[in-house]
Symmetry: C2
Subunit: 339 residues, 2 copies
DNA sequence: AATAAAAACGTGCGCGGGCACGAAAACAGG
DNA sequence: CCTGTTTTCGTGCCCGCGCACGTTTTTATT
C-alpha cells in the first residue's frame, strides 16, 4: 500500500507536489510531473479511500430524491432502499431529503428539483419524466456542479452521471418466457397493461410480443390498458374475462395487479388461469402463496433506491465516475417457493 | 452530526475521556461516565465511519480465504466475488490470501487454516467441512481474536461471526415449484444428485421431496448419486434415461450438470425432457439459451464471495458485529430471457 | 544588474477517532 | 504531614488525503 508521502520521498519532492499532479491542479514542472507519474504507475498507486472520505468530511453532503408513484407499492420498496442507504451514509455526514410527487406532471417535478436546489443539495437522485425540460434541467445542474443519478426511468440523452434501473424490454421477454414454461397446451393470453404514455409499460409489452414468434403456444387474445390503479384493473380484468371465456392466462404488465387478481378470483377462474405479474409487493404475496399468481417478475426495488445514493456519494467524495454508465438491475423471478 | 469533541465540550471533559467511555476502556469516574452517556444518548451519537476506518489503517488487515471446490465452476464465480471485494478493500490497506483445497479432507482444511494463521491473517472466510474439528478450530481462533465468517456451508454451532449462503432446503423446494410450473401433464422425474455426505445436496433433495405432497403431478421415478463430476454425471444420466423411458423431467441437484445435459442430448430426448439445474455457469448457459435446460436455480455466488470479506473488514475496523447473524443469499431463478 | 512577475514547490492544518503517555487528583499508610 | 500508589483525566500524535498559504526558484522586463 503506497501513500502520497512515499511517492513524494521517492521522487524527491514534497507531498503537495505529488498531490498537485494526482489531482491535476497544475503549477508543476513537466519534468517532475513525468517523474512522479512514472513512480505512480510503477507502484500502481491507489488513493486510500478512508483518507479521501475523511478529507471530504469538511463538506457536509446533502442529497435530494425526487420520485413519483405515490400509492404505488413498488416505490414503497424503493423508499426502503433509500432509507437503508441514508442510514449508512449518516455515518459519513450525509443527509437525504425526499420529495414524492403524486401527479405525473413535468411542472411538479421541475418545482421539486428547484426547491431541493434552494435547500442546497449537492446531488440529486430522480425518477424522471420523459421530457426535454427535465433533461435540460439535469444538464443545467450538472454544469453547476450538482450531479444527478436517474433511477427506474432513464434519460439517456441527459448529462446524468448514471442510471440505475431495469431493462424493461427484457422484463417483457422474461414474462413471455415464463408463460412458455407454463404452456402445457396452448395459452390464450389476456394482457392488462398500464398507461401507454409511460415508457416502461410499452417496452415491457414490446418485449413480450417479441417472443411470440419463438413461442408458438402463446396467443394474445386481447389487450386492455389502465392508469395504474387497482380499481380500474379490477374492472378491466372482469370485462376481459367475461368477454373471452377462452382466456387461460393473464399477463399483468403494470401496477394494479392486486385488483386484477381479485377479479380473477371473483370470476372463479383462478385455478384455470396462469398469471404472471410484476413487482413483489405485500398485497400480492398471499396470491403467490396460494398459486393464484404463478410467477412474479421484480426489478430489485431496494437496489434502485440504495444504489443511486451510493453513486452520488462516491462521486462527490472521491470524484470518481460510477464504474459502468448503466447499472441495470437484475430481472428477478419469484414463485411461491423462493419468495 | 455530532463528534467526540462536541460531546467532550458539552460534558466539560476531554476527548480522551469520552473515547474511553465509548470504547469501554475503563479508568473513568462512574459519575462522569453517566454524564457522558447521557449526552451521547440524547444526541444520538454515531461514530463517523471515515474517521474510524482511517484510524484503523494503522493496522494493515490481512484476510485468509479457504474454500474447496477446485474444478467446480460455481466456485469460480465465488472467487470473482472475492476478487471484486479484494479490489475494493485494497483501497483500505487490506490484502487477501486465498487457498483452494481440492480434496474433501478435513485435515487439508485444518492445514490450510493453520498456514494462513502463520502468515498472520487477521480474519478468515471459509467454506467449512461439516466436522467438529473445524468447528473447534474456529472457536479457538475466535478466542485468539481472529474472527471467521463461513460461506456456502455453515457451522451454526461454531463461533463464526456470520454465515453467508443459501438456505439449501429452500433451493430444493424452488426446484419442485419450477417443475410444477412446467407440469402440463404428469412429470416422471429422475434425480441426479451429488455426494450425499455433503449437506447441501441432501438438504436440496429433502426440500424437493417436501413439496411432492402439494404437487401431485410430480413423481420421482429414480434417484442417482455421483461425486460432483461431469463424466460421472454423463454416465449416470445415460443409464437413468435408458432404464426409464418414461422419464420426461430431470432434476440435477449438484455440479456436473453439463455432463448430464450432454447425455440427454446424446439420447435425443432434450425436447421431451424438462430440466431444472443448479448454478448459472458458463458451460450450461448455452443450454439455457437452447431450451435444453428450462430453468436454473442459482445462489448468488458473487455475493457469497464478496460479502464475507466486507463483514470481516467492518468487524475489524469498527468492532461491529454483522447486522444479522445469518445472511441468506437469495434463491435466484434463471430462464433463457433473464440470464 | 536590479526588479517585478510568474512559475514551481514546501509546509501546516483539518477531517474524526484510537491510543500511548504522562499529568493531576484522590486515596492509603506510616 | 509526607510519601507512595491507584484512579482519573488531558494532550499529542497518528492514520492518508486535500487544500490554502507562504516560500523559493525561474523567467521576463527595463
Amino acid at each position: 500500500m503506497t501513500t502520497i508521502k512515499e511517492i513524494a520521498d521517492l521522487a524527491g519532492v514534497s507531498r503537495g507536489t505529488v498531490d498537485r499532479v494526482l489531482n491535476k491542479r497544475g503549477s508543476v514542472n513537466p519534468e517532475t510531473e513525468a517523474r512522479i507519474m512514472e513512480i505512480v504507475d510503477k507502484l500502481g498507486y491507489k488513493p486510500n479511500r478512508a483518507g479521501m472520505t475523511l478529507a471530504a468530511q469538511k463538506k457536509r453532503f446533502k442529497f435530494g430524491v425526487v420520485m413519483f408513484g405515490v400509492g404505488n407499492p413498488f416505490f414503497d420498496d424503493v423508499i426502503k432502499g433509500f432509507k437503508e442507504r441514508e442510514d449508512e451514509l449518516a455515518g459519513y455526514n450525509c443527509t437525504v431529503i425526499t420529495k414524492r410527487i403524486s401527479a405525473f406532471g413535468v411542472r411538479d417535478q421541475i418545482d421539486a428539483i428547484n426547491s431541493l436546489v434552494e435547500e442546497g443539495v449537492n446531488g440529486l437522485a430522480i425518477s424522471p419524466q420523459n421530457d426535454p425540460l427535465i433533461s435540460a434541467k439535469i444538464d443545467d445542474l450538472f454544469e453547476k456542479g450538482i450531479p444527478t443519478v436517474t433511477f427506474n426511468t432513464d434519460l439517456p440523452e441527459s448529462k446524468r452521471i448514471a442510471y440505475v434501473g431495469s431493462n424493461y424490454f427484457q422484463c417483457g421477454q422474461t414474462a413471455a418466457g415464463l408463460m412458455n414454461l407454463m404452456a402445457g397446451s396452448d395459452l390464450n393470453i389476456g394482457i392488462i397493461s398500464g398507461n401507454s404514455k409511460i415508457l416502461c409499460h410499452t417496452e415491457r409489452i414490446a418485449g413480450f410480443y417479441s417472443c411470440l414468434d419463438e413461442y408458438q403456444k402463446l396467443h394474445v387474445v386481447d389487450f386492455f390498458e389502465h392508469d395504474d390503479d387497482d380499481f380500474k384493473s379490477y374492472d378491466l380484468t372482469s370485462k376481459m374475462l367475461a368477454k373471452h371465456p377462452e382466456i387461460n392466462a393473464l399477463f399483468f404488465a403494470a401496477a394494479g395487479t392486486y385488483g386484477g387478481c381479485k377479479a380473477v378470483i371473483a370470476a372463479g377462474r383462478e385455478k384455470t388461469t396462469k398469471i404472471v405479474t410484476f413487482d413483489k409487493i405485500d398485497t400480492t404475496s398471499e396470491m403467490l402463496k396460494n398459486h393464484v399468481i404463478d410467477a412474479t417478475i421484480c426489478q430489485q426495488p431496494r437496489l434502485q433506491g440504495s444504489l443511486p445514493l451510493k453513486i452520488l456519494f462516491e462521486y462527490l467524495a472521491t470524484g470518481e465516475m460510477p464504474k459502468s454508465e448503466y447499472n441495470y438491475t437484475a430481472v428477478e423471478i419469484y414463485i411461491k417457493e423462493n419468495s
